[in-house]
Symmetry: C2
Subunit: 191 residues, 2 copies
Amino acid sequence: MNPTRRKILAAAWALLEAEEPGKVRLGDIAKQAGISRQALYLHFANRAELLVETARFIDTEKNIDGRLEASRKASSGRERLRAYCTAWAGYLPEIQGVGRAFMAMQHSDEDARIAWADRMAALRHGCAAAVDALAADGDLRNGLSRKDATDMIWTLMSLPNWLQLTQQCGWTQAGYEDWLVESAERLLLER
Amino acid sequence: MNPTRRKILAAAWALLEAEEPGKVRLGDIAKQAGISRQALYLHFANRAELLVETARFIDTEKNIDGRLEASRKASSGRERLRAYCTAWAGYLPEIQGVGRAFMAMQHSDEDARIAWADRMAALRHGCAAAVDALAADGDLRNGLSRKDATDMIWTLMSLPNWLQLTQQCGWTQAGYEDWLVESAERLLLER
DNA sequence: TGTCAACTTGACACGGTGTCAAGTTGATTC
DNA sequence: GAATCAACTTGACACCGTGTCAAGTTGACA
């Protein structure tokens, strides 16, 4: 990868983790990367695109796809649900900075809205796959449709929920993980 | 109440319900109220204060306090939990416009952040009271602390969750209400 | 007639994004 | 050694919404 581009993405990543993500300006990122603000526009069309690429950058650096993909190998639906929940729970703290920056832009920038929605759609596909595996095992709660089950767990896993529990309620990351797995099972499985 | 003030609040309310709340400008509200943009500042110091007062306005117009208070009268903890969940579920669609406007400001405006946090703190107090009632009845799930139970249900009830389920997943309001009550019970109660 | 409060019109500063234009610099190529 | 080219710099500026300031206008009431 282009070294300047890499410097910019690393700077964006670092700042979004360190500061209030909604308050990180493009000028701050440029300064952190050691270039001029205008040079950013030689590599990214606008703020939204920079955020998208930063998210992709983190994905590859942290091998996110591989981690999430691993849950596919689970033998049972229940096992798959657990694996997917823990993989996502481990992913969330990595991208929370970018995620919050996206959320801050949602209301003003259409591109940002779409980009974040895409990302959440990918998460939902994984949820749907886990639910399908549960249904195939006959483990899905009686009277619960696959769609509703998918919607529920997808909502449970959302970034705002993670933020509220870990940032506002003071839960540890481990506590959040346990809660997510257990809640998913309580809401989806027959007991 | 001062008639101009009332006109402004009604205009803000109407616009926040009708449009994308993050995109409603003060000028739009003024025009809708039939006054100049500057006249807004004769009644409210800034955007955040206008939103706060709009929320209070809706509260009194819809008798929100009374509705939420009614859940206190429940005889059992379980009944109280149900009543609080349904009361809040009925409240959410009323203030979703203002709520979204607040959420859009969270990242840029400290006043807005605090105002919304206050509101959510009030919701949490209600959650804690319901959890206490459950605990008094011995109905709280084994091994679940009151704080964790409160955090869980408080998070479940959040506006982002309502938005995701009803706006993105296409759930009906009734579907959301049923889900909230049932999920609260599944997560908090034994068995 | 005079006063006062509520409101209007119009101008402007501020901050962050994104654009435009005119350099500078260093490596490559003839 | 001169020309070229891409990457970058500096500096200016337009746009948008918020919030401020100043100078009118209007209508009620004394």
